[in-house]
């Protein structure tokens, strides 16, 4: 079990779950719910600060990769971003400060665990909306250097867990104190027509109930228990765009596969029908010990098991 980090020990000092849909950034006052989520980003930013983080690591489910895992390694990526769906909400100019040496360290640690990985350093690389929204709202003044990671669209649990371990390896080896951010929604079903933001709500009662159950667990700090529910969460409330619901596997792997966290649900609401929440998890001791391991704890990725399709 991973011990809670002290004020000076390297490791993962906080974990965040945030939505990547741009409304809290681009139109926070269009509804009370958007405003609550935007304010929750500010609270999460304070959690990062209070934890003494010196690095922000963003894993975005909205940055898919196919050739292994990609790590942003452009020192100061700068662009004016427009979301491909919500383009009418406006443009997002950004200029981020990326921790390039750490990005390359990360690639090395991923490869050491059998993963395909590469650093990407190209002007104009299309940083995804989720990463842009998260870093702008959590770290818009570039107070912390950031590392951004893709989410491989074919990887399932085994590969995702190893990916998380590689990230943790890199943080500890570098002596860093990192806050890790998962960008993604809970239920991900958008309304398929345009709505008045004032009428926004979670798409269905079923989605809403599942979201609240997940948030109940996270609010109790039960990260590993939530991770163990990932396949069921995917079946119940995820439109199947990728093979599985992976963020909780990744977060649990990076932070430590247990339930000893202080969990806070800063806000929960709808973004065009999706269930979106801002949650923080801070390592602690004496949390709830209800974890159930029912799948392999993989340390080295050994390939795709010859799965054909």
């Amino acid at each position: 079990m991973t011990e809670a980090t002290t004020d000076h020990e390297p490791g993962i000092v906080a974990g965040l779950i945030v939505p990547g849909i741009p409304h809290p950034l681009l139109c926070p006052d269009a509804s009370e719910g958007y405003r609550a989520l935007a304010d929750a980003f500010a609270e999460a930013r304070q959690v990062i600060h209070d934890a003494g983080a010196d690095l922000l690591i963003i894993y975005s489910t909205m940055w898919p990769s196919i050739i292994g895992h990609q790590v942003q390694a452009r020192p100061e990526p700068e662009w004016v971003h427009v979301d491909e769906l919500f383009h009418d909400l406006g443009s997002i100019p950004y200029k981020f400060q990326v921790d390039v040496p750490f990005a390359h360290d990360l690639v090395g640690h991923m490869e050491a665990r059998g993963l395909k990985a590469r650093a990407v350093n190209y002007h104009g690389f299309p940083i995804d909306t989720g990463s842009v929204v998260a870093n702008t709202l959590l770290n818009g003044d570039n107070a912390l250097p950031v590392t951004m990671l893709s989410s491989n669209m074919y990887s399932d649990r085994a590969e995702t867990v190893v990916h998380g371990k590689a990230v943790r390896d890199a943080v500890v080896a570098a002596g860093r104190r990192a806050a890790v951010v998962v960008v993604g929604t809970l239920s991900n079903r958008l309304f398929t027509d345009w709505i008045d933001p004032a009428d926004d709500h979670v798409h269905s009662l079923k989605d809403d109930e599942w979201n609240r159950k997940v948030l109940e667990l996270l609010g109790q700090g039960r990260l590993e228990d939530t991770a163990q529910l990932s396949r069921e969460i995917h079946r119940q409330i995820r439109v199947p765009k990728v093979v599985n619901f992976k963020p909780m596997w990744w977060l649990s792997s990076v932070m430590g596969a247990h339930n000893d966290y202080r969990g806070t649900v800063h806000a929960y609401g709808a973004l065009h029908g999706t269930g979106s929440a801002v949650v923080s998890l801070v390592p602690t001791e004496g949390g709830i010990g209800l974890k159930e391991f029912d799948e392999d704890d993989v340390d080295v990725f050994q390939g795709d098991r010859e799965v054909l399709a």
């Binding site: 898919p64 292994g68 299309p126 439109v239």
Partner: protein, 296 residues
């Protein structure tokens, strides 16, 4: 009266532009994927003899979960970097949009009951699927385009619902074009089978490493190509949901269904210009010459 004069299956692997070494693309290649590139060359030759005004393309890489969107800004100039293959595709594009036709298509689709939206943000970056298919079809970029997004109803509902919507969009596209004064080339920007390898060779254009991901995918690709070559578009449309599911095909985008419906399910044989694989996916460049209206 406007007319769809040509329809093509025009896949968009960025590898093909990379291997062509056009001045717009930053990386350069030694060779690669010639059968597909020569296929595009034959398509361009076929289009040389056809008088047309506008290219209309539906791309799987402009993914919209709320409705179908249409580019609605007259001119774009920017840099397109492929998010998956940034090492191969960093393309400086400049293109014109046929906004009046886009608006007409959007309106007609809306009248047909589809959710639609015009994209008016001038900072918007045109997706690389649109750029690759249009570059390979018309490298001089001397024709305006209409780019149509892929509405992701296959993921949200089912392949059948996706297809119904794509067919409705195809009909609306045809009606809007016929109500205009445009002679139009349609491009379905998609691969056939679409299971990628998850690693690249050290030399990306090393063709000794290139092949279909698996035999199953190849059989499906050949089945579809043969149906198009025989003009069996009605049967093909019926088969597409099963093909899409079995071959992890990019037709989940609706591009091919849209194209077939817009062309009113022609029974003339499609011309196969080339077939090849790109990082394991199956790709065919095929065309239907509809200048005489197409046999139906």
């Amino acid at each position: 009266m406007g007319q769809i004069v040509y329809g093509a299956l025009a896949p968009h692997p960025p590898h093909l532009v990379y291997a062509e070494n056009p001045p717009q693309n930053e990386p350069t290649a030694e060779c690669g994927w010639e059968p597909l590139r020569w296929g595009y060359e034959r398509l361009r030759k076929a289009l040389d003899g056809i008088d047309y005004d506008t290219i209309v393309v539906l791309s799987p890489h402009w993914q919209t979960y709320v409705g179908t969107h249409f580019l609605g800004v007259p001119h774009f100039k920017s840099l397109s970097v492929d998010p998956i293959f940034p090492n191969l595709f960093r393309y400086h594009y400049e293109l014109d949009v046929d906004v009046p036709l886009a608006e007409a298509m959007c309106s007609r689709a809306s009248e047909a009951g589809l959710v639609t939206k015009m994209m008016r943000n001038p900072d918007f970056r045109v997706d690389y699927g649109t750029i690759v298919s249009c570059h390979l079809t018309n490298p001089s970029w001397d024709k305006p385009i209409v780019s149509v997004s892929s509405q992701r109803s296959a993921a949200y509902y089912s392949l059948e619902v996706m297809q119904e919507q794509a067919v409705a969009l195809g009909r609306a596209t045809r009606e809007a074009i016929e109500a205009s004064d445009r002679r139009v080339v349609l491009l379905a920007s998609e691969s056939l089978s679409h299971r990628h390898f998850v690693a690249e060779p050290d030399v990306v254009e090393d063709m000794s490493k290139e092949h279909i991901t698996n035999h199953h995918q190849y059989l499906w690709d050949m089945k579809l190509i043969e149906m198009m070559r025989r003009g069996q578009t009605r049967e093909l449309l019926d088969l597409l949901p099963e093909f899409t599911e079995q071959a992890v095909a990019e037709s989940d985008s609706g591009a091919l269904s849209w194209l077939l419906a817009a062309m009113d399910l022609p029974t003339i044989p499609a011309e196969l210009f080339g077939y090849g694989t790109v990082i394991g996916t199956g790709n065919a460049v095929m065309g239907w010459d509809l200048t005489d209206g197409g046999a139906r």
